[in-house]
Amino acid sequence: MGRRPACLARLGLTRAADEQAIRRAYARELKRIDQARDPGAFQELREAYEAARTWHRARQVGLLPVTPPPARMRPARPAAPVPPTPDLAPAPPTPALDEASPYGGAEVFTELATRIATLAADGPPDPPALTQAFSLALEDPRLVPLSARFQFEQCLANHLASGRRPGHTQVLEQAILRFGWHRDHRRLARLGWAGEQLGEAVDSVATLPPLPVVPEPEPEPAWIGKPEAKPWNGWSLLCALYFFLMMIRLLVKD
């Protein structure tokens, strides 16, 4: 057994601690802190708690056999256990919903994908027809339960991230508008690998059309890290040089 990570020491735990023990220790320590008066102590305890949970989860991964994710959807991940990184890492996100889960979302998505393929068979799909196909899918009663809806969105993101197909840009635009991907940076992050792949594409699409948001009444372009106007730009240098030469000419004449 190695040294006890600092986060476990803060919670008064040994390396044998399980999830339940970590929660209990956190609860005990939390009751000793006045959050409003001593925010620093709260934050430090909170970080220790989160690090301890990350440490414990990483250990679990090492102990349990790892089932590789479907290669088609996600990049290969090292099968070796993640080395414990106590005291800094936030909790790793749990894997996004699988396409094979028993919800209606995947079914509705497959139907939509077929419809899109038909629409985009010869050239870019007709926008109203595409909009209608999306509306039809999203209003499907099978998508009323939350889990089904999440699954649908995950399938759509995977579909878009796994390669360009006919009508890609139009489908991406629909997806952004319907799920508000441009309005919620965390929403994309929750979609796992697919969300990561789509991030840049979402930004570039989102900057093109005027999106239905209330504009800020701040007309002045705001920036950070924009260069100040340089005191010696081309024009001023040229003028100075001209002035200098004229002076010399005057002096030489005299």
Binding site: P145, R187, V213, G225
Partner: protein, 571 residues
């Protein structure tokens, strides 16, 4: 003594912690719900609560309601020829609740825990705190409404382990919070919401559906008629739960207007609102990293969750019926009282602690790119991610775009969009940089978010150690301490009807509202009775007032029943 106050869009309540359980405080009329309405009478005296709510229909120009919706803006509302800021109107409601608490507890009340929608922004929270100060209350804590509801539920099952979702649909705001209860810790895992979605929006949708048919659009200009229509529509919406169809009868100049309100109509007009209810639920579940099946219970709070269509939607989304053991109108105030007990370090609450989260992401605007790729501006870089446990303080280190850059403009934003133009601008700070190349000019930017949900920003230039902090109060929607002091004086100078007269004022306001809908000789006779009661009140003789009040009250009740002021329901 610290009291807990639920300052709602339509109704407000106060409660206190009595050492073992939270208790609601009755107002001067003996009820718990005080309508969040303020009216100025002809003498310029302030009426709050039921009396003001009745006057909404008889004196729409002298009465204000729904002002919580304007909190955090610099909008001023005209009431009886005087302008008020939304904070001031809220302060008048708080003053009335404070007086009720003092009467019930027999001592001065100077501190309060006030609840706010979890999704209230920085400006809205500051406005709420200012309202408390304007009412002469020190605001010990701003507590998120769904967290308060969770406290009221959680207090009965301290030992249990449970995960639950609070679905809080009030008169004007909607919040969702997901809580994890373990070992006496009530941990809010995520909050999301919509600050402009509530029961009032369902009334508005129904009301709009009456125009231009069966009601002519010209009626919209009649403020008094519209207020009456709104009140009756709300009654009809409440009655719809019990019967599938309700008939409204409103007297007009050319005969009565008869309106049929059916469940089908409500379903149709409410469909877009129901769609909007889904969005925060989905976001909160994602952020909490839970699946719908992981939740042990769905808890309802807020009066608008009484609606059958809302309950049906919740049941369909989660695949199970929601729980509603506590009165949804009262649960937030009860939770605020529990928090007041926690603040007073009550021994009975020794083993209970709650942690909350920041509902929004807070960050700055940055440029991306450089080193070969073109630089693009306007990206949002969050420093505190939403749903981070609070209090929290986080630092990010940033560098200028070019070497020898002499200035850095720091723009602070709140929101979730990837580009800043879709987020809310909170403030700006200009930093002067010393000479140097870009990697020498690191700037540490620290965001600190406290338990009340208020933000502070600090920037330190690493090379010089120069520290600048950002004052976000400069927002036009926020009052400065000096302005608060001045407005406190102005509000204190307003005449307020004495508490003991409020019952009579409310009765009189109700009678005046009834008078409007009566006709012919009944109307004339009732007018005479109103005058007689007013004369009895003016005598200020309790021996005269008491029998007159009993008599007049009975007569008003009878007349109201006979004239079907409550919507008639058809089975």
């Amino acid at each position: 003594m610290i009291v807990g106050i639920d300052l709602g869009t339509t109704n407000s309540l106060a409660a206190y912690w009595d050492g073992g359980a939270p208790r609601l405080i009755p107002n001067s009329l003996g009820t718990y719900l005080t309508p969040s309405c303020v009216s100025l009478d002809e003498d310029g005296a302030v009426l709050v609560g039921r009396a003001a709510r009745e006057r909404l229909q008889t004196h729409p120009g002298r009465t204000a309601s729904l002002f919580k919706r304007h909190m955090g803006t610099d909008r001023e509302l005209l009431v009886g020829g005087r302008t008020f800021r939304p904070e001031e109107l809220s302060a008048l409601v708080l003053r009335s609740l404070k007086a009720d608490a003092e009467a019930a507890l027999g001592g001065p009340v100077e501190e309060a825990v006030i609840t706010v929608p979890a999704y209230f922004s920085d400006a809205q929270r500051k406005a709420t705190r200012a309202a408390g100060e304007l009412a002469g209350l020190r605001v010990e804590r701003l507590l998120n409404e769904p967290s308060a509801a969770a406290l009221a539920y959680g207090i009965h099952r301290r030992g249990a382990e449970a995960k639950f979702l609070v679905f809080d649909l009030g008169g004007g705001t909607f919040d969702v919070s997901i809580l994890d209860l373990f070992e006496g810790v009530m941990e809010v895992r995520a909050s999301a919401g919509d600050n402009f979605l509530g029961g009032e929006d369902f009334d508005t949708a129904l009301l709009e559906s009456f125009f231009p048919h069966p009601l002519p659009s010209s009626l919209k200009a009649d403020a008094s008629f519209m207020q009456r229509l709104r009140a009756r529509t709300e009654e009809a919406r409440h009655a719809l739960g019990a019967s599938p169809q309700v008939t409204l009868r409103l007297p007009g100049d050319a005969g009565d207007h008869v309106l049929e309100v059916t469940e089908g109509l409500l379903d149709r007009v409410a469909a877009p609102l129901l769609q909007r209810l889904r969005i925060p639920v989905e976001r909160a579940l994602r952020d909490a990293d839970f699946r719908a099946e992981d939740l042990d219970q769905i808890v309802l709070a807020g009066g608008a969750t009484r609606m059958a269509i809302v309950r049906r939607l919740v049941a369909r989304m989660f695949g199970r019926p929601p729980v509603c053991e506590l009165n949804p109108d009262e649960v937030v105030a009860l939770g605020a009282a529990v928090q007041a007990g926690l603040k007073m370090k009550d021994a009975a609450l020794d083993e209970v602690v709650m942690t909350d989260v920041s509902p929004y992401s807070m960050g700055i605007e940055i440029s991306r790119g450089g080193s070969g790729t073109p630089t693009t501006e306007g990206h949002f870089d969050p420093i505190i991610e939403r749903n981070t446990p609070v209090p929290v303080s986080r630092v990010g280190t940033y560098y200028p775009v070019t070497d020898h850059q002499r200035k850095l403009l720091l723009n602070v934003y709140q929101g979730e969009a990837r580009m800043v133009r879709d987020n809310i601008h909170l403030g700006r700070l200009e930093l002067n940089l010393p000479p140097g190349t870009r990697d020498q000019l690191g700037v540490d930017i620290r965001f600190t978010y406290d338990v009340n949900g208020l933000l502070e920003v600090e920037a330190r230039v690493l090379r010089t150690g120069a520290l600048r902090s950002l004052v976000i109060e400069s927002n036009p929607g926020i009052l400065s301490p000096g302005e608060i002091a001045a407005r406190f004086k102005a509000l204190s100078a307003l005449k307020v009807h004495p508490r003991e007269q409020m019952a009579n004022r409310a009765l009189l306001a109700r009678a005046e509202r009834l008078y409007l809908v009566l006709k012919g000789p009944t109307r004339q006779g009732f007018g005479d009775r109103i005058l007689a009661f007013e004369q009895a009140l003016e005598s200020q003789d309790p021996h005269l007032i008491r029998p007159a009040q009993r008599d007049f009250s009975e007569h008003t009740d009878r007349l109201e029943r006979d004239h079907q002021i409550l919507p008639e329901t058809i089975q």
